[in-house]
Amino acid sequence: MLFDSTLSLKHNVQIMKARNFRYIRPDSLQHAYRILEENGGDAVPIAGGQSLLAGLNMRLSAPKLLVDIGGLKELAGQSQRDGTIRLGALTRHGELLQSDLVRKQLPLLAQAAAHIGHVAIRNRGTLGGSLAYADPAAELPACSVALRATLVLGSAAGEREVKAEDFFKGLFETDLRPGELIVAVKFPAPQANTTAGFAELARRRGDFALVGLAAMVSARRDRIEGARLVYFGCVDRAKVAASVSVAVSGLAMPVLDTAAFEREIRQDLTPDDTPGLRAETKLHMATVLTRRVLNSLVMQAAS
């Protein structure tokens, strides 16, 4: 299906806020790869469109061609094999909340999904879209790093795999190459003694977080043995806070004092001032959030 948005203007059917673009809905993944390759930088894939369309309507970007990958079966579906859970790139945020597989094996994703926008956004927004967009304040990039996910990237040239930790390069910047799509995300099934913890501070329900934390923590009795803490909304990308993760290991729970990791938070996170929020305040919030997430794991364990 090919649709020229300029046609609609002549017939005065529709008034668009975006600049004119062409729209195509490929019927297979190979077809999509071919279109992307042929059109180079002029083409942009669209899945849920929850960030892209707002940007187009604000005329922040003006691609000449939108390639709608939302109907491609090759990008959908969830499966589990050999200790790996594979989620298709088109997995909607709402599905993360409802999927038994996700809730049982990857509860971090289900916890995080509840914080993404509102129901209408969760029904359309996709896992692959969120990762490809790489908003530093988004939930799913941080979760994928915390869960040691691997992204399956495809193009006309074939498929390759990249660790989530290496995929995010900076502010809205990823390892995706021209003509490449996220096909699926592979998550190793977490080990039995690890627990997922998630929290964020957002002004209103559904807003992007001022500061957020996705955590995978292993504990024995009341002592933290190991942790993988990934903060979002803090720096230019979802990033493992390596020193903090080490510093909290060995702490007795509940954690009452934050002195054991305050210095490390400053070491790992170097946020910028943003309108209405200084870096210093963000660091303070990250510290409070860390203690709260760790202690919530005690509560989880107790229940």
Binding site: N12, M58, L201, R203, L277, R278, H284
Partner: protein, 792 residues
């Protein structure tokens, strides 16, 4: 009023808005739904700079773009419109530079319109607008009011010498002596950041100038069609009887759609230039840089009181940044004047000193917005009195009981100059205390503090000036009418058609008018059809502002209804050969008041009155159309009042605030429709909570707007709102038959006050105070940090 036949749809009945089904089923007609034949669309190229000189403008590529009909600049547009000078003549010393429609030599705020691009479709106009090339030379920016008044800061408008628009002081009694001799003085500084009205439907109009007869019809999302009829006629030199302004369905106004906008005027001029209808709809991003904004005040306030609990003096010093020009017709002095004149109004004290200054900065204009300066007065008063009660070790409710102006002192003029007549502070307070179970909440608050849960309870008393009368706008020089009017006509089938000068932006005004008309005549509301907002068909009137619909327009409807009923009964008396005094109208039937028996139906009265005049005596004078207008002649305003309470929890580690409960006891005089009145209170409360906790136009120091999207400018959302309980005390306005006062702004004023007090109440264990609105997490954390380091 038909007191003996109170119907289920008359005055006091909970009638849902008459237009609900139409609007909720998508059958509304807002500006953007309306299309006229041969209609064009305009969009504006705006200044990206807060202050810059225009070096050159190249419109040629835009003119060549597809679908473009015209590209107009200041040279094309400005000479056709008399400039606006937003100065209030009743405020000596108030000044403004003249405001032209499009920027010609320089722009003085970010968003000021420069070029109008007119095309067959909005999309084509927007595409072409991107092709307009303007070369700018940025100039030094006056970013805020403190910089604006600092020595050495250049004047934005050199002809004014400095940036002061208005500087007003008042003094009553002997404030200096009272402050010097008081046992205690508490002083606070307040900051209120800029905010937006953020209507669901943005601004818009369709201007339709007809070169065939020189007439201008403007379909306008505006609260006051008569104001705009006057403006279009006066400034565009069109005879007034050839100007018609129609307000269709409107999605929210809040005062923002009361102002006068140069881009709207330029769109009308474009229609005159091109001789074709031109539609202008502001998009959401554009609204951030072109809608009138509100607040932006820095206030120092003081209270002096004695060990006995007596307040002896108050003081207010307000400095407001009002943008780059005076707002035409509605001025930019209102927020400051209201803030300083209403401060302290509910309380007994005699010595007062106040000053307000309106200061020009390189920002968008400040205009009317719900509450105007009244919330600022409420906040300053209630925070200071709450702190005074604490200092004295008196419970805040007990302090209010002792220091409110006693009923026996009414009527009185407060030190700020407010006339109080039928206010009910004590009754509202006692009702609120019972409603919230005050003692239990305080007990819970104390208990939770032991567990490091910090809750605050805030109570705020407020006065609301409603329904401004001729003594205010008359001397201002602005041709704004404070009257409203109502035409009524008995239709031949016995139903009633009503045309009011009021407008409805979603508050249900027209439903209230229908109730008054139905009640007064003696029919059910289903028998009444109401039309509002058309300057060509109703009696002259003000429209929607200053919470005046029911108080003024409702009184006009009541008087028209009384006249029509009188005429109907006269005709019915002639037909049935009964003295009219022996007749009444109940449920659409003329009845004999003695027997209660139906005598004749309104349908038969109408049929005979219009079609069978041959059966009437030759000298009978049948007047089944009547018109009435009403203006509250001698009154500056009808003063409404109320008390609200907020219960909040502050997360003192993160600075986040949650409002747990909100209660309002309001006295707006007679309640015409409790359902809609409560809706006004609830909507106002949500907007008030939004103002205190969320809404802020964040500007850089050099006046660049940093958060001009709905993702970054936070409006209050349902998830964050508490349950809201609304109750009423009814003290009717004494000077009207209807007895209604206004209700539009009460919810917002009281909620802003009570949330301010509640949050600061929660912070008391730390000795911290937050005084910078909105209360962002960072500002709360900063307040706590200041307290920890021994500063306040």
């Amino acid at each position: 009023m038909n007191t003996n036949t109170r119907s289920s749809t008359g005055i006091g009945a909970r009638v849902p808005r008459l237009e609900l089904q139409r609007l909720l089923s998508g059958r509304g007609r807002y500006i953007d739904d309306i299309k006229l034949p041969r209609m064009l669309h305009v969009c504006f190229v705006r200044s990206p700079h807060p202050h810059a000189r225009i070096v050159s403008i190249n419109v040629e590529p835009a003119k060549q773009a597809r679908g473009v009909e015209a590209v107009l600049t200041a040279a094309d547009i400005n000479p056709r419109c008399e400039p606006f000078v937003g100065v209030a003549l009743h405020r000596p010393g108030h000044r403004s530079a003249p405001q032209l429609l499009l920027a010609s030599e320089r722009a003085v705020w970010q968003g000021q319109p420069v070029v109008a691009v007119i095309a067959d479709s909005l999309a084509e106009a927007e595409d072409a607008a991107e092709l307009v090339a303007i070369e700018w030379a940025p100039l030094p920016v006056v970013g805020d009011q403190m910089q604006a008044i600092a020595p050495g800061t250049p004047a934005i408008h050199p002809e004014l010498d400095d940036n002061v628009a208005f500087d007003f002081s008042l003094e009553r009694g002997e404030p200096a002596k009272a402050f010097a001799e008081a046992d205690y003085v508490i002083e606070e500084e307040f900051r209120f950041e800029r905010q937006m009205a953020m209507t669901l439907e943005t601004r818009g109009l369709i201007a339709d100038f007809n070169p065939g007869d020189g007439s201008l019809t403007v379909i306008h999302a505006h609260q006051s069609p008569f104001q705009m009829q006057d403006v279009f006629s006066r400034h565009l030199k069109i005879p007034e009887h050839k100007v018609r302004v129609i307000a269709p369905d409107i999605g929210g106004g809040f005062g923002m759609k009361l102002n006068l906008y140069v881009d709207e005027m330029a769109a009308v001029v474009a229609s005159m230039v091109l001789g074709r209808p031109v539609k202008f709809c502001v998009d959401r991003l554009e609204s951030f840089v072109s809608d009138a904004q509100a607040r932006d005040h820095r206030i120092k306030a003081r209270i002096a009181f004695m060990k006995s609990g007596e307040i002896v003096a108050m003081e207010m010093d307000d400095i407001a940044a009002v943008g780059a020009y005076g707002m035409p017709m509605r001025f930019n002095v209102a927020e400051g004047m209201m803030a300083i004149t209403i401060t302290g109004a509910p309380y007994s004290f005699e010595n007062y000193k106040a000053r307000t200054r309106s200061i020009y900065v390189n920002k968008n204009l400040i205009g009317m917005y719900r509450g105007v300066g009244m919330p600022l007065a409420c906040i300053a008063t209630e925070l200071l009195t709450d702190l005074a009660a604490d200092k004295l070790g008196i419970d805040t409710v007990e302090f209010k009981r002792r220091t409110y102006r006693p009923k026996s002192s009414l009527p009185c003029i407060t030190p700020g100059g407010q006339r109080l007549e039928t206010v009910s502070f004590h009754e509202c307070l006692e009702k609120l205390v019972e409603l919230i179970d005050y003692d239990a909440l305080r007990k819970e608050q104390r208990k939770l503090r032991e567990k490091d849960v910090f809750r605050g309870l805030g109570i705020a008393t407020f006065c609301e000036q409603t329904a401004y009368g001729p003594p205010y706008y008359g001397p201002s020089g602005a041709p704004i009418s404070t009257q409203d009017g109502c035409n009524l006509r008995l239709e031949p089938s016995g139903s009633v058609r009503c045309v009011t000068s009021l407008t409805d932006q979603g508050q249900g005004t027209l439903t209230g008018i229908a109730q008054i008309v139905a009640d007064t005549i003696g029919v059910s509301i289903e028998q009444v059809g109401v039309i509002g907002g058309d300057s060509s068909i109703s009696p002259y009137g003000g429209g929607a502002w200053a919470s005046r619909g029911m108080a003024i327009g409702g009184e006009a409807a009541l008087r028209a209804g009384t006249m029509l009923k009188h005429n109907i009964l006269a005709l019915a008396g002639t037909i049935t050969q009964t003295p009219p005094e022996a007749l009444d109208i109940i449920d659409g039937q003329v009845v004999n008041t003695r027997t209660g028996q139906p005598v004749i139906s309104l349908a038969d009265v109408g049929r005979i009155g219009y079609f069978r005049q041959d059966t009437l005596p030759p000298d009978h004078d049948v007047q089944l159309s009547v018109s009435a207008s009403f203006v509250g002649n001698d009154k500056m305003y009808y003063m409404a009042n109320g008390v609200q309470a907020s219960y909040v929890e502050v997360d003192c580690e993160t600075g986040f605030i949650k409002v747990l409960g909100q209660w309002a006891v309001d006295d707006c005089g007679r309640v015409i429709n409790p359902l809609l009145v409560d809706g006004q209170v609830r909507g106002g409360i949500v907007q008030g909570i939004g103002a205190v906790l969320y809404e802020e136009c964040i500007y850089s120091d050099d006046a660049n707007l940093l958060n001009g999207t709905m993702a970054d400018y936070l409006v209050p959302m349902a998830d964050e709102m508490p349950d809201i309980v609304v109750a009423h005390v009814e003290t009717p306005e004494a000077s009207t038959k209807l007895g209604a006062k206004g209700i539009g702004e009460a919810g917002l004023i009281g909620a802003m006050g009570s949330v301010w007090v509640a949050v600061n109440d929660a912070l008391k264990p730390f000795g911290a105070r937050v005084r910078h609105q909105p209360f962002t997490p960072e500002r709360v954390l900063d307040a706590l940090a200041r307290a920890r380091s021994g500063r306040r």
